[in-house]
Amino acid sequence: MMATVTVALLLSAATSLFVEVREIHADATEELTMLADIIAQHCAAPLAFEDRATAEETLASLRADPAIIEACIHRMDGSEFARYPAASSIAHPEAHAELTRKDAPRRSPGAACDGHCCIVKKDRMMLVARYILLDNTPIGTVHLAYDLKRIDQEVRHYLVMFGGITALALAIALLLSAVLRRLVSDPLQGITRAIAGVTADRDYSLRISMKGADELGSLATGFNNMLEQIQLRDAELSHYSSDLEAEVRLRTEELARSNRDLAETVDKLENAKQRAEEANRIKSEFLANMSHEIRTPMNGVLGLAQLLATTPLPSQQQQRYVEGILNSGRSLLAIIDDILDFSKLEAGKLRTYAFDFDLIGLIEDVVVPMGTQIGDKDLELVLDFDSDLPEMVKGDPDRLRQVLVNLMGNAVKFTDQGEVLLRVRPEPDHSESQRIRFEVTDTGPGIPLEAQERIFDSFTQVDGSTTRRHGGTGLGLSICQKLVELMGGTIGMASHPGQGATFRFSLPLPAGSPEARKTESGPLAIHHGCRVLIAVARDATARILRTELQGIGFDDIVIVPVGQAMAAIRAAAVTPFNLAILDLDAASEDFLALARELKADGATASIRLLMLARQWPADRTAVAREAGVDACLHKPVTRRNLADAIRRLECREETDGLAAAGRSPAAAPRKATMPQGRVLVAEDNFINLQVAESVLEHLGYRVDVAADGEEAVLACRNNRYDLILMDCLMPNMGGCEATEAIRRHERETGRDRVPIIALTANALEGDRNTCLKAGMDDYLSKPLVIERLRELLMRWLPTAEEGS
């Protein structure tokens, strides 16, 4: 305590002293600067006019302050002008030197300068130099030296004074402290010692032996009471804590036990989960394998049944039986395919691919064969492509095909009358990644509201009766949904019961590279100025026809309702139509009779007649040709088949003229148009081989057979073929490998490129594009269906059409 007081006193004394000394110095500096200013002002004129006497008189006035030991005025060139005291020579030129330095920014330590004034402290002296200015221009300098010893003396006085005061204060403080200690500090120290003892030894039995009536006495009593309380609590606490320890031990053991139990349970559950997942995986694999295994004999059954159907059967009953076998087999196969896909999706084994493919071509491939599924229903398939649709897109064509087949198949299946419209257009609001929207709209019975919510669930059908009527696993839409989602798209539906249904899905399909697109077989002629008449049953079909014809280059297109075609043709006698597109399925007008009439009349015989029909069985084609129809076209109308038909019409016109081609084909002997082509079938499955062979032979081709890829390559080197059917999976050498070898050989020998058709199993759809990349031209799904094979041959060997 005493030390504190001493330090405080000394500190305050030192601070006061310091402040005082600083003030003295500041005062001296200010005084001196002011003095220099005054002298500079007074000496300006004497200096300007070389009046030394006046200047020295001014300087002499400095006598008044004995601390000023030197003063001097210089001209700007450094020569001395006036001095004080007169006798001495200048002894302290530092400030003057500092002021007039040329390298102004570099200052000596201890020098404080602004532009016109400089102060230097040195050897207990303060030196001031400043410019003498006249109209802001320096004309000389004034220099003063001030002796700080006088200030030091002053400081010493202060020091002595402060020392005395501080000593006195200290003495008084000591006296006071001695008195206070006896009254306060001693008892407090007693208490402190007691507290220290209690804290160090934890001996709460200690008591302070001090009595007194003052505050300290009551403090001691209070402290003793507190110790007593603590002693009591301590005893209680130690009692509790021993209880608590036992409790904690008990609980810890329980916890450990239940932890062990939990860990065991988790292990068990983990095992069970693994087993369950394993079992599920095995089940899915088993299902996939089983489906695949079932397919193989089914292919055999179907193939043989097809073959049986092509042979002449003695009785109608036998024909019906064969039909029944075929239908049941196809249904079964469809179910197996569904289960296979579904189990693959469930097992997470289905992958999607991204290839460049021809979007419109793919859709047409899907939709055109569906025309045959319509049977004798009054139903029309209509394709509506947006004109902004990219031709080549990047995506998984096989999965897209599967979804389209499913949705279109459902629509065709459930709609008895009206139309099924497939509308394809780019989503408007996806600029960065192009999405394409597909909409399948039918005029069927629609879907009840309560069924709409779970329409995409597995094993769900609209109701039991539809299951019975139409068959199916109820997996189709569920598969569609999973596939669309797998491809990054969305699927949905809208329906009003009784007014049909619309299923729509949207997929990200960015535009593909245009060079990957297959080139069309030659450009179409310019159709500018051609007049076209369209008379078809459905407005949608008429609209699509017009759009597609305009796309090809036709610009003068007239659409009339069925029933007014004849009237329209007659009315246009002055500027006759060049082409009439007529719908054979329309019931209200007999277009075959109309065709005959037109061709018989010289004025209208030059009109090309393009007839549309859902199906063109051989006999119907013959009748049409006989009636004078120039070209027959399957519905639905697609860009490709329409363009093909137009091209055929043009070719015919160029070669042998209309009349001969139009009237004679039915009469022509079949053998004469039978192709003499040669086809190689490379296939290791006996049944498929037999189907292919029999169909091809039935069509009049010479068929060679290869059992694997190596044989196929060898056969190609030795013979020339018009077409090769190539299985993908074969022993020794696969189809892709063989194709590459054949293409290489063609390049080396300069042979023509032979069309190679891949035969792919449905289960291996992902391989299709691999086939195309390997150099194949088209593909055909197994099991081989005679109709499909025939269509394919028509596409690649156009002469086959004549034979059908």
Binding site: M34, H42, A45, P46, F49, E50, G115, L133, L134, N136
Partner: protein
């Protein structure tokens, strides 16, 4: 001591004339003329505008030759100093300082009367100039010139001679002449 608001750096300031061992009177007088311009105050109406030049006129046979070129163009209180030389018979002299060469001592009376009443500081080194009504006379004394100042004449012209200048100058008054000489 608001002496130097916005003072220029010392290094860049123009230096006054360095005295040579052999003092050149012409250069010395030139520097005196410049200092006169700096010490004295003209009334505001002496200048046509705030940027108007301060004109140092020289009348008579010019004794300076090129010496005045050293001070010509310098800035005095923000005004540019220009030197203009007048012939002996020119009309009114439009200037602020008029140095009258010794050659004009016989025409001095006329010259002074021509500028009387105008704020023109008249300077000359001719004898008896201040006594004869000139304002500042330079009187040769060893290596310097003493200044004789006629404060009455300056006051009559409206020119305020600076007290510092008066400190170094010797005051002279125009003696009261007998009335018949006026």
């Amino acid at each position: 001591m608001a002496l130097l608001p916005g003072a220029r750096p010392v290094v860049a300031s123009p230096r006054p004339l360095p005295p040579s061992p052999v003092v050149d009177d012409r250069a010395l007088i030139a520097s005196y003329l410049l200092n006169f311009a700096r010490f004295n105050h003209w009334p505001a109406h002496a200048f046509s505008g705030p940027d108007a030049e301060l004109v140092l006129g020289v009348v008579g046979n010019d004794p300076f030759s090129e010496s005045l070129d050293i001070i010509a163009g310098k800035t005095v209180r923000g005004r540019r100093l220009v030197v203009r030389r007048f012939g002996g018979d020119d009309g009114p002299r439009n200037c602020h300082i008029l140095f009258i060469a010794a050659s004009e001592q016989y025409r001095l009376h006329r010259i002074l009367s021509e500028v009387r009443g105008q704020p023109v500081l008249t300077v000359s080194a001719m004898n008896d100039f201040a006594v004869r009504g000139g304002m500042l006379q330079l009187l040769r004394q060893k290596n310097r010139f003493r200044i004789l100042a006629n404060r009455e004449a300056a006051d009559a012209a409206g020119i305020h001679l600076c007290s510092h200048l008066l400190e170094v100058a010797t005051s002279v008054t125009t003696p009261t002449r007998p009335a018949f000489l006026k």
